[in-house]
């Protein structure tokens, strides 16, 4: 058994999220939905930053969360690219990328070397010493991606990876992201409110509304045969 297998419920005072996900290796699943539909909650639960009220999360042979077991975020090893990237502002790009290796006990010099190789791979070798504040949105996204991928996670979680970018750079950054995700052989879960990103990046689509899955399938199929008016509206302007 490999890939991500998750089925869980998160109960909040005014909100209940119920979702199930099966994401194979080398596969990208996009969770799409409006603000407040439970997308980010889904991601935080998968990352181990919030604990579902019930259900299970399994990754490969490992149970990350069920009634008897809970693996904390620090031991879960899911790579997360946060919405506004959350690069540590006081550390340089290369120190950001090396952070996870150092946290896991890798010698500092070795970790920084590995981080430099990752930056070179993403055409950022000239920005190694630069603080995140000086990076463009696209560069910051790649640094955030390198920071997550350097740990070779089995699960990669992307929270609105394009939301912090301006429209002029979005196409190029999206293309680079597609390249990186193709090269990555773990399971990817991406959440976005933008159907264009979902159609471009995902192998499978899950449409979430008010905490429930309203439709799932291959992106083109979902766009062609929307289950309800909400899904139809979602893809109306996506240019699919």
């Amino acid at each position: 058994m490999s890939g991500l297998h998750a089925s869980f419920t998160v109960e909040r005072p005014a909100f209940t999220l119920t979702i199930d996900l099966e994401v194979g290796t080398s596969t990208v699943t996009a969770v799409v939905g409006p603000n407040g539909s439970g997308k980010t909650t889904t991601l935080m639960a998968l990352a181990g930053l919030i604990r579902p009220t019930s259900g299970h999360i399994r990754l490969g042979e490992r149970t990350l969360d069920d009634d008897t077991r809970y693996v904390s975020a620090a031991h879960r090893g899911a790579g997360v690219v946060f919405q506004d990237y959350l690069l540590f502002p006081h550390l340089s790009a290369v120190e950001n990328v090396a952070f996870g290796l150092i946290a896991r006990g890798t010698h500092r010099a070795v970790a920084l070397d590995a981080a430099r190789r990752w930056l070179a791979r993403l055409d950022l070798e000239n920005f190694a010493a630069v603080r995140p504040g000086q990076l463009s949105g696209g560069q910051a996204q790649r640094v955030a991606l390198a920071r997550a991928l350097i740990l070779e996670p089995e699960l990669l979680l992307l929270d609105e990876p394009m939301a912090a970018l301006d429209a002029s750079t979005r196409t190029e950054v999206r293309r680079d992201l597609i390249t990186e995700l193709r090269a990555y052989n773990g399971s990817t879960v991406l959440v976005t409110h933008d159907p264009t990103d979902a159609l471009a990046l995902a192998d499978e689509l899950i449409v979430l509304d008010a905490g429930s899955v309203v439709q799932r399938g291959i992106p083109a199929q979902v766009a062609a045969t929307p289950a309800n008016d909400y899904v139809a509206g979602l893809f109306e302007h996506a240019g699919a």
Binding site: M44, A74, H75, V80, F88, F99, A148
Partner: protein, 277 residues
């Protein structure tokens, strides 16, 4: 900004200040500024270096700076963790949190002399804790240099705690989440992420604490007394010198003023900068 704004204010309301308020406003400003001006005008500038080197003033200055620095270190070492508890104990009973905050704030509003008396009653030879120190170790704290540091820490630490607590409340906790997903332990997150993020708050709190410790008079003279070279800090020396050697008192006052200006300079973005934004 368009050139026309130099001659024509874009804000048609003007300042909106009634003419009659200019008079009390001017008096208030003069009241705050003139004493400092007098000090600068009357200070014996030519003999300043001589007095510092050639009298007890140098000794007091060294003691003040040393004790002030020690009190600042004490405030940081114990105050930062306390600020952490105050900022992050959101799951606790609100009544307990309010009580904790009140305890931290009390030294801010307490007359320093009262603080000094309270310290005597705690650490003095017959105090709650002091009696055991005396009985078991033949050790008394009052009227020693450590007593100066304790008095100064008592009045200075709240500044640091409140400053750091504010910084912690303002810090984005999602950075800690990001660090956690990268496998960082709580201790590593504290050391490598949160602490650097709130460093400006710690620095501001440390500068405030140092300034407060340096000017401390009431608690110090009550708990530590006035012993040259041991507990006679700058403010105490200035007060004593005013009767015997006014020139030395002026010199001390000028030095303390310069330190205050330096503090204001260090914190300018925080206090003065707020006017422009």
């Amino acid at each position: 900004m368009p050139a026309s704004s130099l001659s024509r204010s874009p804000d048609a309301r003007g300042s909106g200040i009634p003419g009659i308020l200019w008079v009390p406003a001017g008096i208030a400003l003069a009241f705050l500024v003139l004493p400092v001006v007098s000090l600068l005008v009357q200070a014996p500038w030519r003999t300043l270096g001589q007095v510092v080197v050639g009298s007890d003033v140098g000794q007091s200055l060294a003691l003040s700076l040393g004790a002030g620095a020690a009190a600042t270190v004490v405030s940081i070492v114990f105050g930062v963790p306390l600020a952490w508890v105050l900022a992050r104990s959101t799951g606790w009973n609100p009544a307990i949190r309010r009580l904790l905050r009140a305890f931290v704030t009390v030294p801010l509003v307490l007359p320093p002399v009262v603080g000094g008396i309270a310290l005597v009653l705690l650490l003095g030879r017959t105090g709650l804790i002091g009696q055991f120190l005396y009985r078991w170790f033949d050790f008394t704290i009052p009227f020693t240099t450590p007593a100066v540091i304790i008095s100064e820490s008592f009045v200075a630490m709240p500044f640091l705690v409140l400053s750091v607590e504010g910084a912690l409340r303002g810090a984005d906790r999602r950075y800690e989440d990001a660090a956690a997903t990268l496998g960082a332990s709580r201790w590593m997150i504290f050391r490598r992420v949160t602490l650097p993020l709130v460093a400006p708050g710690i620095l501001a709190g440390a500068v405030l604490s140092f300034a407060r410790a340096l000017g401390e008079f009431g608690a110090t003279i009550t708990f530590a007394g006035d012993f040259p070279g041991v507990t006679r800090t700058m403010p105490i020396a200035a007060y004593i010198a005013l009767e015997t050697d006014p020139g030395a008192a002026y010199v001390i006052a000028v030095i303390l003023l310069l330190v205050s200006v330096a503090v204001l300079f260090l914190l300018r973005d925080r206090w003065i900068g707020g006017l422009t934004s």
